[in-house]
């Protein structure tokens, strides 16, 4: 990608920061976008910075925002707090109850664990991690490379555990 151009991820991140931030964050976002405005004149891709239209107002007042997408379409982002995406608070899942034997549940059937007298603060949406991709299958033949003796046998399956020999 040529230097100075924005990829889809950066454009999305810029939009999200504007929508979910306060007026101050919006100003900061505007400043960030202004710095991103410095693009080569002869560019064929419609990009955000030149087309963002912000109205800075007093602190605490929601700011209407217009974003230009990749196709040149202008999109108005409502300034209402109701438009700010709300992510559910993360839950703790009980995989195994006290006294139960065997492995924890892999099926994801969640029984939500609620700690006593503890308030869990919902995370900021931008801090949520993306889910891991789907795995396919185990690797094929693995070639064992012996280390200098005395060398243990490699574990057949990678595993994490409190360190031991």
């Amino acid at each position: 990608m040529p230097p100075g151009k924005l990829n889809t991820t950066k454009r999305f991140a810029v939009r999200l920061s504007l929508v979910t931030g306060s007026t101050l964050a919006t100003i900061v976002g505007a400043q960030s976008l202004a710095s991103l405005n410095k693009l080569p004149a002869a560019t064929s891709d419609p990009v955000l910075p030149a087309a963002v239209d912000l109205q800075t107002q007093a602190m605490g007042t929601a700011v209407p925002i217009q974003i230009v997408g990749d196709d040149g379409q202008r999109v108005s982002i409502p300034a209402s707090p109701a438009a700010i995406p709300v992510h559910a608070a993360p839950v703790i899942t009980i995989l195994r109850h006290p006294g139960q034997a065997g492995a924890g549940s892999q099926s994801g059937q969640a029984q939500t664990y609620v700690p006593s007298n503890v308030g869990i603060k919902p995370p900021d949406p931008v801090q949520l991690a993306a889910p891991a991709p789907v795995i396919v299958q185990a690797p094929g033949e693995t070639i064992y490379v012996p280390a200098a003796a005395p060398a243990p046998a490699p574990v057949p399956q990678p595993s994490t555990r409190s360190s031991r020999r």
Binding site: A89, P90, I92, T93, I94, L95, R96, H97, P98, G99, Q100, A101, G102, A103, G104, Q106, G108, A110, Y113, P115, N117, V118, G119, I120, K121, P123, Q127, L128, A129, P131, A132, P133, V134, I135, V136, Q137, A138, P139, G140, E141, T142, I143, Y144, V145, P146, A147, A148, A151, P152, P154, V155, Q157, P158, S159, T160, R161, S162, S163, R164, R165
Partner: protein
Amino acid sequence: MTRQYVTAFYAMGSQFNVWLETSADGEAILQQVPAWVEKVEAQLSRFRPESELIRLNARSGRWVEVSDILLQAVTKARHAAQLTGGLYNPLILPALLAAGYTRSFVEMPAGDMRIPDLPPVTVPHWQSIEVRPRQRAIRLPASAQIDLGGTGKGWTAAQIADRLRAYGPCLVDAGGDLVARGKPQDQAGWVIDVAEPGQAEGIPPVASVVVTDTAIATSGIDYRRWVANGKPQHHLIDPRTGQPAVTDVLSATVIHPDAALAEGYTKALILLGRDAGLDWILRQPQRAALIVCTDGAVLATSDFQSHMTALSTV
């Protein structure tokens, strides 16, 4: 042709396992890894009389010029202390020694050890570790001593994985703390079991997860434990008390992009206990964690479960 290679060796008091997928000479590459780890261990081990860590500890209270390895390792440990609010604190060595952990764990005697009956050790604040990166210098508070066992293996695994990544996807297991770079061919990630704590081999795992380009670390009070003066001890010192942590968490597993920080987070979870630990981890930017409690319960955050959920779709 790309092939997967694996090697295993003992280092840092643990078994290392290293997987590498490469079309290069995987055997020749992996045969170098023990020497890479030895170079780190020679600098960072508190069980090597000639190590740089020992020399640093002997000069506490003074500025000491150190190697890049020790500088980076201490800087990372300090960062882990900062992010855990000091729950992980590398200045615990005197407390570890007072508890009886005076030698490599494999050399610890079985049965009840007799150790001097000392008063609880006050662990200095982590912020008293001073680092001057430009001068490559470190100053420990006077009479303080540092131990990097809490983050050292994860940090080492990351160094090795970053070197191997040039040859292909790899997975470095440093005694149960793993770092993944890339993913195996035609797969979405490395499949890693979370071992049932305190159990021999062959016991089904507590859970299995899929990871790529991240680290997963586990700490626990299930293995490195002993009896001294008739009292049970273990190696996870609570800096707030200078004593082995009193906790209802048997082991904690964390997935985090930074291996040393993953290790630090596991210590924080154990020290805080079940409820406070889960509350704490859910307030962090990285919050993928699983704990096994002393009553056998297993709890996982939703972020950790997302790594498990991916596995169940196979």
